[in-house]
Amino acid sequence: MDTAFSNEDLKFQSEIRDFIKTNYPRELRDSINSKRKLGKELSREDLTAWHKILGKHNGWSAPSWPKQYGGAEFTPTQKYIFEQECAKAECQYIMPFGINMVGPVIYTFGNEEQKTQHLPGILSGEVFWCQGYSEPGSGSDLASLKTSAVKEGDHYIVNGQKTWTTMAQYADWIFCLVRTNPDAEKPQQGISFLLIDMKTPGVTVRPIKLMDGSHEVNETWFDNVKVPVENLIGQENMGWTYAKFLLAHERSGIAGVARSKKAIERIKQIASSEMSYGEPLIQDPAFKAKIAAAELELSALEYTELRTLAKDSAGKGPGPESSLLKIKGTDIQQAVTELAMEAVGYYANPHLGTTLSNEYVGPDYATNLSGTYFNFRKASIYGGSNEIQRNIIAKMVLGL
């Protein structure tokens, strides 16, 4: 048993640290933080600037990708270190749709033309991707999807509606699960994996506002959209296999440990400024007990993640235990966003940055904390709700 970093790991860590210090623009960080604080939408540039910088440096934009496709091919320990350092420095996190999702699918199941066409843009951050999986009504029952792709000559004609398409407003491309065989015996059969250029006529994106007023997700409509057959990944009707591969592929960082640690630090600072019953809130036994409970949970989760990584690097694969990381990770994120909201008392109320208010009120650290709490209720719902995750563990781990 050994959790100490090796000398190479430590060297790697300081290399990352130096790189971030030199290359992550402070203005970018401040601008993103300030927008987020005010509940303002982040621009495409905000979301991709750091990605683009990393993309120019040894494939660091793609820590898990094999070198042959231009990735960094970090070891699990290196990935862990990389994530920790990025979180500590508050780097904007890399949109997962290209790097963690469609990229690995393309280099694993795509043909040479597809690899040549798509991988460089994903790596560099120039091409923005989004994901077309969920449909209205499908929810956790993904395989019930209805968007159809009918082959006509050398095109598929795509019709239907996707929903919860995160950041589709900026996307150049979308990877979609579509139904190519409506008569298949099981719903999982007859599904294909299609890449669609968002500029194709017939693609329409409509914003969905979340309860905090933010615009992160969209509805994406397909009305007789012509998609060249060259954009099919792998074989027709085998899309479910690629989708499952994708789900199992990239789980590192799913627990969000480093980000939650940072968040707890900030709550402690806020609670040192806020007063309650004539004492700093951080001295309030109930409040500090909640902070401590979150810290303990997070310490445990960090080691659960490390144990998973260690298994992973021993070639044993993360497996369905990663559902545990998702459940506990989002539990903690939700507890932490709630504590932050609680910390500011009445200043949880103002909803600033709306069309109805251009003035900003209250302490700087308080803005949008309730918005963030409300926004994060999504965390236990998306990516397979935490109920579904428990079903997965029950079946796959406990054999029930």
Binding site: S134, G139, A286, E342, R377
Partner: protein, 392 residues
């Protein structure tokens, strides 16, 4: 022992229920909260016509002489409709202070005006540093001839933007956190020296920051006695807390019922998601939390509120316990609604947000838990009688 409404209470309940049903459907409400003003004067006039604005006031001033139970009825139904008009700030909070502390003259001149809907008031008490401590008042009032001159800053004053008058707590004596030395002033919102920054709240109500710079207030506009306002403030905030709890219980009922309904209708994997036992038990636990919340509200409403110790204890018990119910029922409602739960478009998130913000209002769960403990556990010491009996 009975928990049934009296005939008058049933009438009141029906009246408010009808108002919400007929005048406050979801689209109407959405338009109101999106409007520049954030409320609808037309509704206020209706409240006046229905007599709702007079519920808690003495009959001597044209009110209905209602008790906490009557306010509970109004607020519970308002909760069910997410009614945003400033009833709580004007009628319960400011109205309560005026009834409690006002001189005959003040009461005669102001209360009928509130009841008729001609004026609205708000109470500016919180300050940036005060959090929920009512005694923590830095805003100063200094006597200068026949006027007091006020300077300070008030935070998150609900309903101030719609109010014609503000009641302001200010320090006329003593240290920042001293209970004595606090005085209440009633002023016209348009007075020179008052600046309001109005903004919407996350739950679509309206509040304001109130900046007070050399605001001159005549001695005549003091409510009650100089330096002696604290006890009344605490009492009226307590009464208002029960009203807020009533609103929360109305909201919890909607959250529980609509989530149960949603789960019955929502199909996944070919069947209603309510067929999942985990969802069934979560719905049961939401119902249990709702019933417990309602019960402790009844406890507070039927307590002897004229006894200040009993009042404090009952109010903090109710607010703390209902705060816990808000969290569980609210978060569960969103979780069980899945994607529909997190979007702005669907009703449930709005109920959740309002309930959560009521959780903060007048002190959050931890705050009232602490107050409850201080009230109930200070006097315990080892009993003289030997503790010689088993625990169950």
């Amino acid at each position: 022992m009975n928990f049934d409404y009296t005939e008058e209470q049933t009438l009141l309940d029906n009246m408010v229920t009808s108002f919400v049903r007929d005048n406050y459907d979801w689209d109407t409400r959405c338009n109101i909260v999106k409007s520049e003003e954030g409320w609808k004067e037309e509704n206020w006039k209706q409240f006046a016509e229905l007599g709702l604005l007079g519920v808690p006031f003495d009959e001597a001033y044209g009110g209905l002489g209602g008790k906490s139970a009557d306010l509970m009825i109004v607020m519970e139904q308002f909760g069910k409709g997410l009614v945003v008009e400033p009833y709580l700030p004007t009628v319960v909070l400011a109205g309560g202070l005026i009834s409690k502390l006002g001189s005959e003259e003040q009461k005669n001149s102001i209360i009928p005006e509130i009841i008729s809907g001609n004026i609205r008031c708000a109470f500016a008490y919180a300050e940036p540093q005060s959090r929920f401590d009512l005694n923590d008042v830095k805003t100063s009032a200094v006597l200068n001839g026949d006027d007091y001159v006020l300077n300070g800053f008030k935070s998150v004053v609900f309903g101030a933007g719609m109010a014609s008058h503000l009641i302001i707590s200010a320090r006329t004596e003593g240290e920042q956190r001293s209970e004595s030395g606090i005085t209440l002033f009633i002023v016209d919102t348009k007075s020179e020296g008052l600046t309001l920054q109005n903004y919407p709240t996350i739950d679509e109500y309206r509040a304001s920051e109130v900046i007070i710079e050399n605001l001159k207030v005549s001695k005549d506009n003091i409510l009650g006695k100089v330096n002696m306002a604290y006890d009344a403030i605490e009492e009226i905030v307590d009464i208002s807390t029960i009203a807020a709890c009533s609103e929360a219980v109305g909201i919890l009922q909607v959250l529980k019922d609509s989530t149960t309904e949603y789960c019955k209708n929502r199909k996944q994997f070919g069947q209603s998601i309510a067929k999942n036992q985990v969802i069934q038990h979560r719905l049961v636990d939401m119902m249990i939390e709702y019933e417990q919340a309602k019960s402790i509200l009844y406890m507070a409403v039927t307590a002897d509120l004229s006894n200040s110790d009993e009042r404090r204890k009952a109010v903090s018990a109710a607010k703390a316990r209902i705060g816990k119910a808000i969290k569980f029922v609210g978060e569960s409602a969103i979780q069980l609604h899945g994607g529909m739960g997190v979007v702005d478009e669907y009703m449930v998130s709005h109920y959740f947000k309002r309930a959560t913000m009521i959780g903060v209002l007048f002190g959050n769960t931890d705050y009232h838990m602490k107050r409850y403990m201080t009230l109930t556990q200070s006097g315990i010491s080892s009993s003289d009688e030997a503790i010689s009996v088993s625990v169950t």
